[in-house]
């Protein structure tokens, strides 16, 4: 079975700025693929290239096994013939059309007759709970309603592929959580392939069954979210993913031992090389103590957030900054002294350039 979307060697620059520097991505049919990365990583550019709203400098894209753009041969299928739908960050609802007209227009363009259009509109209104709002203009709808109209509009012509460009970033926290569920339900009910762009890693982890982490126009790592969490390929992925993300502490080789903040750590790991390395330790493997003891690192509590069963604490010290997720902390909060206990071995070790060593 061919991939729903296959991107090969994609390069795109804007003036001197490289938005994409050679990207390969595969999206399986029916999957919910999330492109994740900090702002400026090229994720929106990649999405717009898939949609056909930008032209690549190099590389090719296939949708359902059909080549839609190939920079080397100059072949381009225009956006309107790629049979996909897109939900834009600002929704891009046509402000002069009512919700119903916004949903209807693409159906009309697709050549559906009146009866078929009316039936489809009713179907979509039921699916997205829009029936009471159909006669309103976008300016009269709330953010969440606009969002649902935008989704209904691009679902209308039954596309094989749906593209989302940071669709939840304009909604408040509660609505965002609701819309996430809605999107998952929609994905389950329609079976459509989704490519979804976001910079919010918790949103990405909640939605994706395939996750692509981008940085500076390159793919850092792609795969099943749980694999990215447990086996990050790079320090960037390790420090970016997870709620809270993993700690990255700098360890230097000194006097025949690896040291973090001056204290010996993970004795006898010669295989890490000579230079300083970045040591990944998950927050739940760190502990804080109220009293000093041998092997503990002195730290200052910056913030301690009680989460019920556990406490999330952020501390600073000679080792840098660390996040600790541990049983309820009864020591002092902001500004109090505490002592950080490291586990005997790290979860992963990365070279100074971010590549994984072990």
């Amino acid at each position: 079975m061919s991939a729903a979307v296959r991107v090969r060697g994609m390069k795109r620059r804007f003036g001197r700025q490289v938005a994409l520097g050679g990207v390969d991505v595969d999206v399986a049919p029916g999957s919910f693929c999330v492109l994740l990365g900090p702002s400026g990583c090229g994720k929106t550019t990649l999405l717009r290239l898939i949609a056909g709203l930008e032209a690549p400098d190099e590389g090719r894209i296939e949708i359902d096994g059909r080549c839609v753009v190939d920079a080397s041969s100059g072949r381009t299928v225009p956006a309107g013939r790629r049979k996909l739908g897109m939900v834009f960050q600002g929704y891009a609802l046509w402000p002069h059309k009512t919700a119903a007209e916004n949903i209807d227009w693409p159906l009309r363009i697709a050549g559906l007759d009146r009866a078929a259009r009316r039936a489809r509109l009713a179907e979509l209104a039921a699916l997205l709970d829009l029936a009471p709002h159909l006669e309103r203009y976008p300016g009269e709808l709330s953010g969440g309603q606009q969002q649902r109209v935008a989704i209904a509009r691009c679902l209308g012509p039954r596309p094989r592929l749906l593209l989302f460009d940071e669709p939840l970033s304009n909604l408040d926290v509660q609505l965002r959580a609701e819309m996430r569920l809605e999107l998952l339900r929609l994905h389950g009910e329609t079976g459509v392939t989704i490519v979804y762009v976001t910079h919010d890693q918790s949103e990405a982890l909640a939605l994706a069954d395939h996750l692509v982490v981008l940085r500076d126009g390159r793919v850092e790592q792609a795969g099943v979210p749980s694999t990215l969490l447990t086996r990050p390929h790079t320090a960037f992925v390790a420090g970016f993913l997870g709620v809270p993300p993993a700690n990255l502490l700098t360890a230097a080789h000194q006097d025949g031992a690896w040291r973090i903040g001056g204290k010996a750590f993970a004795v006898g790991c010669a295989a890490w090389g000579d230079g300083p390395v970045q040591v990944m330790i998950r927050p739940e493997r760190l502990r804080l103590h109220e009293r000093p003891a041998a092997g503990l690192l002195q730290a200052v509590v910056v913030e301690a957030t009680p989460l019920g069963e556990r406490t999330l604490a952020r501390v600073e010290g000679a080792f840098g900054r660390a996040t600790v997720l541990m049983p309820p902390w009864v020591g002092g909060s902001h500004g109090a002294l505490a002592y950080l206990a490291l586990p005997p071995t790290p979860d992963a070790v990365f070279a100074a350039d971010g590549g994984r060593i072990t």
Binding site: A51, A79, F88, G90, A92, H96, W105, I109, A110
Partner: protein, 577 residues
């Protein structure tokens, strides 16, 4: 209603002040707008008025007095409107939505014709195209080169239409470009993704979004073209080509004001009907004008092979309507005879001592005490009218803003914008009729009429200035302990100053360059530059007229430069990628 405006309304809610403000605003509008209209209506209701109406509509003179000029007025109005919306719209599209080269320069030049008064363009037209209708001395550049233009190109309907287009397409451009600038890239992309053709995208998305702006621009162009006096007076009268405006002027000059009012009432009704149509289109559009939101990224359509041809065509248009007429006037003012721009240049018409052989002994305009006086009077009229209009605009604008969205506010706003559809000539005539017994020939009457004519612009600039100031800004100053005066001086004025200054300059320039409004208010004791130029032109002293026109041009462009009116603030879309 936005949260900002609700909190503002509450702040202003101490009951007495708004009541006084509202009453004051209505009183001002009644005095400036309703009174002159009522005067015209009442004059027509008298016995003499009824007789005039009969004469004009059904009498033996009706064909020549009303119907033929009405036909000319309508034809010119429609042709100008069509051409302006097409030219201004195309230009706006090229500048805001395509990758046309030189679009910044073209955008800046496209706003300029608005600064060049119609009568100056009309005079420039005669410099280039005049034939020997007004005597051998008056023939234009083309005729002197041996390529005498045909009569229809020298005088009458065609040149009047072209000259009005040259002035008014800039207004259409300036009204349509901001509307296009709000059409975001994603709105169009969302339509393209559905598989819609380019024509379907234009028809289904782009056109409906800019239709309100197109309608408003069209209506304004029509009202301006149909009520213009200077263009048909300069280019039509020599061949007895009349519009309603020139007929009305003739009626006032020959001492039958009722006939003038009858003609003017016809003009107002025609313009009002069109503006109302446009207002309906705009109302339908209102709900989405703001929905497109801020910070939109615009798509730039690649023009491909058409890039340079379109750029050159656009550049030719903006040059032909700005630099060419200005140059024609300057060169003519230096030439021995109008249009003889290749003859021996001299400074006579600017600096020359009186010479009985030339123009009945008129001295050069810079040596002529009457011109000095006209210069000062014109400048003073601009300044006083600008300041007074802003003061009135502040009262009316504040009252509208504080009244919020109710019927009273709507009524007040509509009344304040009414002068847009009253021709300048009519305002002048009505004010003479109203206050003439007391104030005829006085500076005050010129200023009052000016304030009435420019009220819409003043109110608009006050509204724009208010929009600069979020209520939170004033509130935070208040919370910081500033008193009302402190808030005004420390926060409100500095923030509003730019837009208010822009409004002042707009009014100032309109006063300095406008002929229609002041032509009837002119007396020899109260000379105004535009009227002086018009008199010179009618008396056959073309080069003097051209020199004065150059002075007016310099004045109005200098005022705009001083206020930064050509900058990116005026056309923010020029600053983008």
């Amino acid at each position: 209603m936005t949260p900002a405006s609700t909190s503002r309304a509450r702040l202003g809610g101490r009951s007495l002040a708004p009541a006084v403000l509202t009453v004051g605003a209505f009183a001002l509008v009644a005095l400036l707008v309703l009174a002159p209209l009522a005067h015209i209506g009442l004059a027509l209701a008298t016995e003499a008025g009824a007789a005039a109406l009969r004469d004009v509509f059904t009498g033996r003179i009706a064909t020549n007095m009303l119907w033929l000029p009405l036909k000319h007025t309508l034809l010119i109005g429609l042709a100008v409107t069509l051409a302006c919306v097409v030219l201004g719209g195309l230009l706006a599209w090229l500048v805001t939505m395509t990758d046309m080269p030189l679009r910044r320069v073209i955008g800046l030049l496209a706003a300029l014709p608005f600064m060049i008064p119609t009568f100056a363009v009309a005079l420039a037209w005669t410099v280039i195209f005049a034939n020997d209708r007004l005597g051998e001395a008056g023939i234009g550049v083309l005729a002197r080169l041996g390529a005498e233009p045909p009569a229809w190109l020298a005088w009458g309907a065609v040149p009047v239409t072209l000259v009005l287009i040259a002035h008014l397409y800039a207004i259409a451009y300036l009204m349509i470009a901001p509307a296009l600038a709000t059409v975001g890239r994603d709105l169009i992309a969302a339509a393209e993704i559905t598989g819609a053709s380019r024509a379907q995208v234009l028809k289904g998305v782009v056109f409906p979004l800019v239709a309100p702006a197109l309608a408003a621009a069209g209506a304004l162009c029509f009202a301006e073209a149909a009520s213009s006096f200077s263009a048909p007076a300069i280019l039509g009268l020599p061949v007895r080509f009349h519009t309603l405006a020139t007929r009305a002027y003739g009626a006032f000059e020959t001492g039958s004001p009722e006939r003038g009012y009858a003609l003017i009432a016809t003009m107002i009704v025609v313009s009002a009907a069109l503006l109302l149509l446009a207002a309906r289109a705009r109302r339908r559009g209102q709900s989405f004008a703001t929905a497109a939101g801020k910070g939109v990224v615009r798509a730039r359509m690649a023009l491909g092979a058409w890039r340079w041809p379109l750029a050159i065509a656009a550049l030719a248009l903006v040059t032909a309507t700005t630099i060419v007429p200005a140059l024609a006037l300057v060169l003519s003012s230096l030439s021995p005879q109008s249009g003889d721009v290749f003859g021996a240049w001299s400074w006579h018409y600017w600096l020359g001592a009186p010479d009985a052989a030339i123009a009945r002994g008129q001295p050069g305009i810079l040596r002529n005490p009457e011109l000095h006086r006209a210069f000062i009077v014109t400048l003073a009229a601009g300044l006083f009218t600008g300041v007074s209009a802003l003061a009135v605009g502040l009262v009316v604008g504040e009252a509208i803003a504080r009244l919020g969205a109710g019927t009273v506010a709507t009524t007040l706003r509509q009344l304040a914008f009414l002068p847009l559809l009253i021709p300048g000539l009519a305002i002048g005539a009505a004010f003479i009729g109203l206050y003439g017994a007391l104030l005829y020939g006085s500076f005050a009457l010129v200023v009052i009429a000016g304030v009435a004519a420019t009220l819409p612009f003043a109110v608009e600039s006050v509204a724009a200035a208010r929009a600069q100031i979020a209520a939170e800004l004033e509130e935070s100053a208040r919370l910081a302990g500033a008193g009302p005066l402190g808030v005004l001086v420390g926060v409100t004025l500095p923030l509003a100053a730019g837009k208010l200054l822009a409004g002042f300059v707009l009014v100032f320039v309109k006063m300095v360059r406008d002929l229609d409004l002041v032509i009837l208010l002119y007396t020899p004791a109260l000379p105004l530059l535009t009227v002086v130029a018009f008199r010179y032109a009618s008396d056959g002293f073309a080069q003097f007229a051209h020199a004065v026109a150059v002075v007016i041009l310099v004045l109005s462009i200098a005022a705009h430069l001083a206020a930064g009116g050509f900058g990116r603030a005026a056309q923010p879309w020029l600053a983008e990628r």
